[in-house]
Amino acid sequence: MADYEVPKLTGEGYTVVPAVREGVMAGKGPFIAKPDFQKALHFPDDFAAVGELVPNWKERALEKMADLKSRYRSLQVFLDICVKCGACTDKCHYFIGTSDAKNMPVARQDLLRKVYRRYFTFAGKYFPKLVGATDLTEEVLADWYNYYHQCSQCRRCSVFCPYGIDTAEISMAAREILDHVGYGQKYCNEIIGKVFKIGNNLGLPGPALFDTVEGLEEDVEADTGIKVRFPLDEDGAEVLLVTPSADFFAEPHIDGLIGYAKVFHETGVTWTMSTIASEAGNFGMFIGSYETMRRVSLRVREAAIKHKVKRIVFGECGHAWRVAYSFLNTLAGPFDFLDQRYPVPQHILEFTWSHIQAGTLTLDKTENDDKVLTFHDSCNVARGSRMGDYPGGQFDIPRNVIKAVCNHFVDMPADTIHDATFCCGGGGGLLTDDLMEIRVKGIQPRAEALRHVSINNGVTHMAAICAICKSQFTKVLPYYGFTMDQIVSVHQLVSNAIILQRQVSVQARPDEDGDDDD
């Protein structure tokens, strides 16, 4: 299977902190983006081939570092104030899974910090050895490329840091510097190029999307006898749904999409998806580029205006929800042309939960009686966003919805859920096959917790609300003896339990009203 050891699980319910080892995860890092991909993202492309650096790379890297620290208070403050107390050292799932010293959050930060100190601080300029400052060399740059692509920007370290230092901020800055010297990451940058060119991460063109939603309408009709609509590019709908493109075809994502459609159908709220904004995910955050993130976000604004909607709702997606909740208003606002009675944007779970509370949905919990559920808090939802109108709503609302549609729910151990949740191991631009080793090892703490509740509470399924989590789990949990179908979308559970009362969709097309039989 693999030329590395898959960590063993104990099922004890707690993570064993490994002894520090050096160089376990040393390597070249993920595939590097070719000049064309860099050009599409407005990054420098004056390097001849993959693996080569731009001319004057050192000056340009330092110039970019100076630029970033002058524009991001987080970066400037975090580079200065770490006291190396070690509070974060055992908190990263990649460190726990790999034991590589440079996967300790503070050590990962120090890769950048030691260069910052050398060139930008008094102590580092005159006493480099004393404060652990080093010159920027090609080796250091290669180390950045490797280890800053072993961070999923999950923010768990920042929860436990006495100063809130967030390694994600440092990783993002490092990746942006790398993008300016010829070391862009192929996976992220190629995908962002597809969003600019086609509209979504997977590069699904409009006609393919129309085909897909048509197929889905047929499937649901075959299943329920009711023509539930999956509207695409329909102007004048109340809600614009922006969902990760994986929802259009991947398992179990697509079952979530069916769930959203059934909820909209039952509530009678008109909705549409958009070929322009057929992607909730925003990989601009992964590469730390404000401009890229903004350019991706502006598509959502464009779609909302074009389709004349009144509300924007986001589908199940973790980093996407962080960008949507925390940054969309900043990047693509103001949204004063939308209905101000609702938050902009809303999460599909906020939408569904409000309708469950209002009693709009008819639910039969026993439809999910074949399962004992647990819930994986997606890292960026848990620590970088909110749902509802009070802090921590992002923990309660998904669980409330699950409990409203399932009889059997058990939480995983307390230090692995809520804001202490472990990342799935594939977030932050790591969900690519050239990073399988780190993905397999990084999932360990989550797998450990899941195994614990499987053994002790008979948990059979884990629900997730993130396209990346779902993809990572279905692919990597089998390394630990779980099966792919143990991962479900939360709206898949809703879909199972919902009993459709409305016979004809409020968005039924005139030509197909009841004349299916001719």
Partner: protein
């Protein structure tokens, strides 16, 4: 007036200038650097008052550190809180005695012991815990050595060999009003004071910046209200104003 007194007088003037000026420069830098995005570590307070309370819990109780690691919290808390008591006790060298200061003297006296104990615990971790050993640079060890030396020399003056505190008070009062007074030539006092001056000088160029810096940490000091209130930095707003996607396309 001895040569040493003059030397120390100049040293403390310089150290004070560097400490105050250096910290002011850094605080100004943090203040002026924009925070373009809302990045509080959530769940985060949704009101400004809530943020003040969160920050208070962080700096008064080390809440996040407590969640992280109880042993580390114990040593860190012991050291920092003891340091406050010790600093309050030392206020008598700069202001005239009042009832509160008199009351605080014994607390500050024994806090010196707990302060050194806390520091010793923190230093021990740098040797004992392999993860912390790996991340420690020479300066991290030296910083603890410096603080412990300050603590130990101070304790020795309290408990072993008393120095002429009245004369020391006169010396510092003299520095403050530009009317120089002699310093006792007690070697313990001289070492203690030299190390304190060193600490003051190092403060603005070292990780001790965590003290003012924590208040500027966006993950802790931001209100979680991005949907309710639009947050845009000046440099980002310029992109909007000029209708551009990239900063290098902007007209200056």
């Amino acid at each position: 007036m001895t040569f040493v007194s003059i030397l120390y007088g100049l040293l403390f003037w310089a150290a004070t200038l560097i400490l105050v000026g250096g910290v002011a420069v850094k605080v100004r830098q943090y203040w002026n650097t924009p925070a373009p995005l809302k990045i509080p570590t959530t769940p985060a307070p949704i009101t400004q008052g809530g943020v003040v309370w969160r920050m208070f819990r962080e700096v008064a109780f080390f809440e996040s550190l407590f969640r992280s690691n109880k042993t580390l919290w114990l040593f860190a808390f012991l050291f920092h809180m003891s340091l406050w008591l010790v600093l309050i006790r030392h206020a008598r060298y700069f202001v005239s005695m009042n009832e509160l200061l008199v009351f605080m003297q014994p607390f500050g006296r024994y806090a010196g012991i707990t302060m050194v104990l806390g520091l010793a615990g923190l230093w021990a971790r740098r040797f004992v815990v392999d993860r912390v050993r790996y991340i420690s640079a020479p300066s991290d060890h030296l910083m603890l050595a410096l603080l412990i030396s300050i603590g130990v020399t101070g304790l020795m003056m309290s408990f072993v060999s008393h120095t002429d505190v009245t004369q020391i008070k006169g010396f510092f009062h003299g520095l403050m009003v530009f009317h120089w007074q002699p310093l006792p030539s007690d070697p313990l006092a001289l070492v203690h004071l030299f190390l304190v001056a060193l600490l003051m000088i190092i403060f603005p160029i070292s990780k001790l910046l965590h003290a003012p810096g924590v208040f500027f940490s966006p993950t802790r000091n931001q209100v979680d209200n991005p949907r309710e209130k639009r947050h845009v930095s000046a440099w980002a707003l310029e992109l909007e104003r000029q209708g551009k996607l990239y900063r290098d396309e902007l007209n200056k």
